[in-house]
Amino acid sequence: MVDPILDIEGLTTRFFTGEGQINAVSDVDLTINPGETVGVVGESGSGKSVTALSIMDLVEDPGKITAGTVRYRNPEFAASIAERHPDAVDGDYVDLLAVPKHVRRSLRGTSFSMIFQDPESSFNPSITVGEQIAEAVEVQRRATTRPRSVSARSTRPEYRFSDFLLSTVFPSRGYVSESSKQEAISLLEQVGIPDPEERVGQYPHEFSGGMLQRAMVAQALAGEPDVLIADEPTTALDVTIQAQVLELLNDLQAEFGMSILLITHDLGVVARMCERVGVMYAGKIVERGTVSDIFDTPAHPYTEGLIGSIPDIDTPGGNRLQPIAGNVPSLLDSEMGTRCAFADRCPKAMQRCLDEPSELDASGSQSHTAQCYLVSDGYAEEEALPAGYFESSGGDS
C-alpha cells in the first residue's frame, strides 16, 4: 500500500468568539493518497470548509487550530527543514502544525492549492484574470528558482516593501514576470478557455461563472500542487457547467496526478468523482469508507438520511423525498453537551447516545468505519428514546 501524501489526525479547530467557543472541527482524521480523490461531504455548517482552510493554514481570526497533526509527505521538503525544525520532521513526513507560519506559507500554491465555491467573489475584481493567474505561476517560478532549503531557513520576506514601491513607479519591475504571463495564457488554454490570448487581458466581470471557475482551476494548477483542495467547486454553477468543471478536474488529475480533496454537500458529485469519502456532521467525521461502502451499505443514520434525501428520478412516480428532520446543531461549545450531535435528528437514537457518542468503529470492511452505537453494538429497541423526546425536554442541550 502506498503511503498517504497527507495524513491528518485529530485536527481540531475552534473559533473563540464573543458568544463563546465554537467547535467548528473536532478531532478529524483524514488520509489522502497520491493521485486519489477524497470527498468530504456534509451539510453547510458541518465544518467541511474550515477543515480545508485548516489544511491551508488560512483559518482566520478568531479561529485557531487547537490540536492535531497534519502530516505531509515530501522527502525534499522534509530534508530541507530537518535541521531547523527537527521536531516537525518524521522521515519523509513533516507535521505542518509544528512549523512556523512562513514555512507553511511557502507551501501554498506549490504543495497545496485551493479552488473556492464562488469564482466571482474569489477573483479580485480590479485585476485582470490573466494577471491573477500569472501571480500564481510566479509564486511557483520563484519557489523553484529559490530552493526550499533557503526559503525555509530565512525569515526574510522574499518580496519587500521597497520592491512594491519600485513596481508602482516602474511597471516593468512588477512581481509578475513576462514568462509567467505567457504561462498564464497556456494555462487558460489547458482548462479549455477559448481565445486565451484575449481572455488574459479581461477582468473577472467579463467572464461567465463557468469560465471563471475554469480560470480558477487554471490558477490552482499553476503551482503544480501535490494536493488540490476543491471547496464546493460546482455549487455556484449551472448544472450543465457543473458537469464540465468536474470533467475538467478529472482530466487534469489524470494528466498531472495530483490528489484532490473534494468538499461538497452534493452526494452526486461525490459518487462521480471520489474513491473514498468522509461524511461530516457537526465538526466530526461520522462515517468514512469507499464510495461503494457509503452508498451501498451506509452505516451511520445520518449518511442514510443524506442518501435518502437524494431525489430519485429513475423510478417513475418516484418515492417521496425523505429529508432529514430538524436542523444542523449549534456548534457553540456551551450548547453542544456530550451527547451524539445527531441524536436529536436520529430515528434510532438510544439512551446511551445521550451519555457519550460512540467512537469510530469498524463496520464490515477495514476501511469502512462509522461513529455510531448502531454499528458497534447494534440497535437495542428497549433503549430507544420515546417519540418526541427532544421536543419535550427542550432539546437536551
Partner: protein, 329 residues
Amino acid sequence: MSIAKFLTKRLLQGIFVLWGVVTILFGLRAVSPGDPATLMLGEGASRELIQQVREAEGLNDPVYIQYADYVQGLLVGDLGYSWRSERDVALMVIERIPATLELALAATVVAMVIAIPLGVISATRRDTPADYSATLFSLLGISTPNFWLGLMLILVLGVWAGLFPTGRRPVGLGPAVLTLAETGSISELTTWIHYIALPAVTLGTYFTALITRLTRSGMIDELGKPYVTATEAKGLPELLVRYKHVLRNTMIPIVTVLGLQLGTLMGGAVITETVFNWPGLGQRLIDALDARDWPLMQGIIVFIAVAFVAINIAVDAVYSYVDPEVALE
C-alpha cells in the same frame, strides 16, 4: 464608451453646471443691496460722477442686457475689473493660483503620505496599540479646528521653538525653482519648504485624519472578502496581497474624497490662508468680500467652479482605471 466620448459628455455637463453657477452669481449681485457706483466712488462722490460711472459700467441698462454682457465677457475670458483696485480680475485671480495650488497639493501630499500607511497599519493590526493610536490620531485630527491648529503650530513650532518662520513667505515655488535652475542654489527652495510646511500640515491634518479612517475601514471591509483568502491560498507574499490587491480596491472611495477635497482646496483654504497670511485665492476672496468687490468675488468663484468641475471629470476618468467595473459612463 470611449474616453473621447466620455470626456465630451462630461464637458457638456460641466458647462451646464458652470452656466448655473454664473447665473446664480449674477442673480445674487443683482438683488444684493447697495449701489456699485457708490461703492466704487465712496460716500462723498457727487451725484453727477456717480451717474457717469453708472452709465459707463452699464448699470443703467436693463438686467438682462447686463447679464448678456457679463456672460459674453466670461466667454472671452473677460472677468471685468475690480471695483476696489480697478485691476483686471482675471489677472488678480491668476496671480494667486500658484500659491493656492502649491498649498493644496502640499496638503494633499502630506495627507496621502501619512494617511494611507497609517490606515493600512491600523487595519491589518486591528485592536493593537498601533491601531488605537491611529484611531485616536484621526479622531483628534477630524475634530481639531483649523484656525486653532494653525495658531498653535505658529506659536509652538514657529515662535517658541523657532523651527519654522512666521509671516508672509518671501518666495513662491516658481521663482525658487527658477533660481535653482539658473544659479544652482537651493536656498530659495528650502526657504519655500520652510514656509509651506506649517500651512500644509494645518490644512492637511483634517484631510489626513479623514483618509486614515477611510483607508482603515475600507481595508477592513476588503480584507474580509473571499478573494483575499483566495489570493493568500495561491501563496502570494502577504505584502502583495495587502498592497497590490486589497489597498488597490480600497483606493476607490479614497480617490473620490481626494478629488472632492482637491476641488475644495482649489478655492483656497480661506482660514488657513488667513492664519498664515498665505498669498492665495482664499485670502483674496476674503478681501473681496470685505470690500464688497463683486467682480473680483465673482471672478474667484467662477474660477473655483471651473476647477471643481475639471477635477471631478479627472476623478471620474481615474475611476475607470482603478475600478474596471466602472465603465466610463
